[in-house]
Symmetry: C2
Subunit: 379 residues, 2 copies
C-alpha cells in the first residue's frame, strides 16, 4: 500500500477503467448470473453494513431472512417451519457443502460415509469431497442425460448416507427424476438433497408436470439460488432442509456474539444480500417471475429454431433456458465466436457441445446477432 | 410468494421499517464489523453484478483483485508473487478453512492429520474440525492469554501438519508469539497459519515491535479481513499463502466456465467486494489507516482510564483496540447495559469479562456515555 491515499476522483476514474475491461453481460451467453434487479441493488446498498453472522444485532434483517425462507417454503411445498430450517448462503456451493455436512453429522454412526451424485452434478461436489474426505460416487446418465436410476441403485451400499438429484443440470438444464430418487431414498432410509440452484427459480414458474421439491416425501434438503434466476445480488444462495433438526446438525457454539450458535459456513454474512433477495422476491411476485421465465423460454425457442435453420441441432430438447448446440468441432467454434465476435459461450463435457444459458439479459435481438455470427463461425 | 408483486414504494417502506429494527452501530461495542467507508460502498455498487467465480468474464475486476493482493503482499512482507498466492474470500472463516484445507492437501501422505491451535482461537476452527474431520488440538494459554509454547510443543506428534497462531485474538486482542511459533514450525517442518483477521489491518499501522507476517520464515499462510478494520464492505476476507504452490493445492477443475480452475471455497464470488476493498485501500493509504488505528487506540485509552476511575481494571493491558473489563458478575452487568441502556457488549469465556471492541464507529463521546451507564450497571 502506498503512504498517501488517492483522491476519490482518482479512484473513481480508475474504477471506471477497470469496469470497461469487464465484459458486458450483453455478450455473455455462458453465465448463470445476470444483472440484478434495480430494487435488489437498492435494498442491498441500504443494508450494506448489516452482518447476519451476528443476527442479534440486526433483528430487522433477520426478520427479512425469515420471510424469504417462508417464501421459499411456499414455493417448494415445505411443511415444517421453513423459517427454522435453513438460511441464505453465499451461493450453490455453500448450500451443497452444508447439505452434505448435515447428512454426515446426522449419520455420525457411519465412519466412512459415501454419497451418490450424478456424473452431471456441479463441480461444487468435488469441493465437498476434497474438503470433507467423504466419498462421492458418480452415477452414469441415461441417453437423455438424466441420472440413471439403475446406476444409482448399484452404487448404494451400507455406508451410503445420501443421494443428490439435480433439478436443472448446469450443463444441459436437464431434470433428474427426483420422484424416483425420492422413492429410492425412502426405501433405503437415506437422505436426498436436490440441487435446484438454477432450476429452483425457473421450474415453479413454468407449466411443467414435474415434481422435485418437498412435496416428495424423500426430499430432505434443497439448494435454490436467488442470485441466479431470481435477480438478486451476489452473494445470495438458499438452503432449506425438510426438518429443522437437519439444519440444527450444522450448529457450532459461538462465544462473544449476540447469539450463542451459528449454522452458516461463513461467519460474517451479508445482510445486504438478504434484504436484496427479500426485495426482489416481494417486488416481482409469482407473476413477475413467470414473465421473466416465459421471456427467457421464448428467447430459448428462438435460438433453437434459428440454429435449426443453420442445420444445427441440440443435444437434448431444452427443458429450461439452457441450450446445448450440437456443433462439430465445438471448441474451435467457441474460440471463433469469442475471438472474432466477442461472444462468450461455454462447452459441455460429454458430448462436447456449445452451451448457451438464456439469462434475462439475453434478448431476441441478441440472439439474432448471435445467430448471424454462429453461421459464420460454423462455416 | 404472493401472486402479485408489491410496488417499489411498498417495498422501500417495508425495508425502512426493517432497517429501523436493526441496531445502529453507535451502541454496538461487541462487533468487529462497522460502517464501510463511503468509497467502498460506491465501488461495491458499481461492480455489484461482477462475479469473480468466472474471472475470465471480468478481467477488470480480476485485475483489481491482483492489485489488492499486491498491497497485502507489501503490508505483510510477502516475497514470492502475492498476486498468484491468494484471493479475496468471504471472510476470516473461509480463509481459515482454506488455509487448513491447503495444508491437508499438501500433506496427503498423512492419513490422520492434526493441527494445533490456541485455546483462544476463533470458533471457525470448530467448523474446520466438523467439516474436514481433521483433528484440532487446543494448546493452553500463558498468564497473558498468549498461546503457551510448551503446550504447543507437547501436542505435536508425527501426524501434526501445522500450527495456527493468532495476531489479535477475537476475545482479548492478544498477540501470540508468532516468531517463536515460526521457529517451532521450521524445526518440525510443518505449516504455520497466522490468523490476523482482525490484527492484519491494525498491527501494521501501530508502532509495535512485533513480527507476525511473512518476514518470519516459518509463516506459510495468513488470514487478513478487509471487512473488519479496513472499512471495506461485507463479504471481504483475505487469504495469502507464502508460496503459490500452497494456493494451488486448492485447485478444483471447472468445466463450463471462462477458466478451467477454481481455488475459492464458494463458486459465485462478489466482484463488488473486490472493487470495494481496492477502492478503500487505495483511498486511505497507509496514512489513512494510521489515522483510523490511532483514533481507535486513543478511544481505547479513554475507555481504560475511565473504567479505572470506576475501580474497574482490565484482564490484560489492551494491545489492540479490544478491551476486556474485569467486572464482577460480568453476565449480569452485560444484561443491565443492554436492557437498561441499549449497549451491546459481549463476554469473554475465560475469565468472564466485559469485552469491548473499539471500532471506528466508537467515538470519545460514545465512551463518555457508556462509562456513565457502566457506573450505574456495576453499582
Amino acid at each position: 500500500m502506498e503512504e498517501n491515499g488517492k483522491t476519490k476522483e482518482e479512484i473513481l476514474a480508475f474504477l471506471k477503467k477497470a469496469k470497461a475491461a469487464d465484459t458486458n453481460y450483453e455478450r455473455v451467453l455462458s453465465s448463470m448470473c445476470t444483472y440484478p434487479h434495480e430494487i435488489a441493488v437498492l435494498a442491498h446498498t441500504q443494508f450494506i453494513e448489516s452482518n447476519m453472522g451476528d443476527p442479534g444485532l440486526f433483528p430487522g434483517t433477520f426478520d427479512l431472512e425469515r420471510q424469504v425462507l417462508v417464501m421459499f417454503g411456499k414455493m417448494l411445498h415445505h411443511k415444517n417451519c421453513p423459517e427454522k430450517a435453513g438460511y441464505l448462503t453465499t451461493g450453490g456451493t455453500e448450500s451443497n457443502i452444508q447439505a452434505i455436512r448435515s447428512m454426515k453429522n446426522f449419520r455420525h454412526d457411519i465412519p466412512k460415509p459415501n454419497i451418490i451424485i450424478a456424473r452431471s452434478a456441479h463441480f461444487s461436489f468435488d469441493k465437498v469431497a476434497n474438503l470433507s474426505g467423504i466419498e462421492i460416487r458418480k452415477a452414469s446418465l441415461d441417453n437423455l442425460l438424466k441420472v440413471d436410476l439403475d446406476s444409482v441403485r448399484s452404487l448404494i451400499d451400507e455406508n451410503t448416507i445420501g443421494l443428490v438429484g439435480i433439478a436443472g443440470t448446469t450443463e444441459f438444464g436437464q431434470l433428474d427424476p427426483i420422484d424416483e430418487l425420492s422413492e429410492l431414498a425412502i426405501e433405503k432410509n437415506i437422505f436426498l438433497h436436490v440441487d435446484a440452484a438454477f432450476g429452483g427459480f425457473v421450474i415453479p414458474f413454468m407449466d411443467l408436470d414435474y415434481s422435485y421439491d418437498f412435496k416428495l416425501e424423500g426430499v430432505t434438503s434443497m439448494t435454490i439460488d436467488p442470485h441466479k434466476m431470481a435477480l438478486s445480488t451476489i452473494p445470495s444462495g438458499g438452503l432449506l432442509f425438510k426438518e429443522p433438526e437437519y439444519f440444527e446438525c450444522l450448529e457450532i457454539h459461538t462465544p462473544y456474539l449476540s447469539v450463542n450458535k451459528q449454522y452458516s459456513l461463513t461467519g460474517t454474512r451479508s445482510g445486504g444480500a438478504v434484504a436484496s433477495t427479500y426485495a426482489v422476491m416481494k417486488h416481482l411476485g409469482r407473476k413477475g417471475y413467470k414473465k421473466v421465465v416465459s421471456d427467457c423460454m421464448s428467447v430459448t425457442k428462438k435460438l433453437v429454431e434459428g440454429a435449426d435453420k443453420l442445420g444445427i441441432g441440440t443435444v437434448i430438447d431444452p427443458v429450461l433456458n439452457i441450450v446445448a448446440l450440437d456443433v462439430p468441432e465445438a471448441d474451435l467454434v467457441r474460440k471463433k465466436l469469442l475471438d472474432e465476435h466477442g461472444w462468450h459461450v461455454s462447452i459441455t463435457r460429454d458430448p462436447r457441445a456449445l452451451r448457451i444459458v438464456i439469462m434475462p439479459h439475453i434478448k431476441n435481438e441478441t440472439i439474432e446477432l448471435f445467430l448471424k455470427d454462429l453461421a459464420k463461425a460454423v462455416k
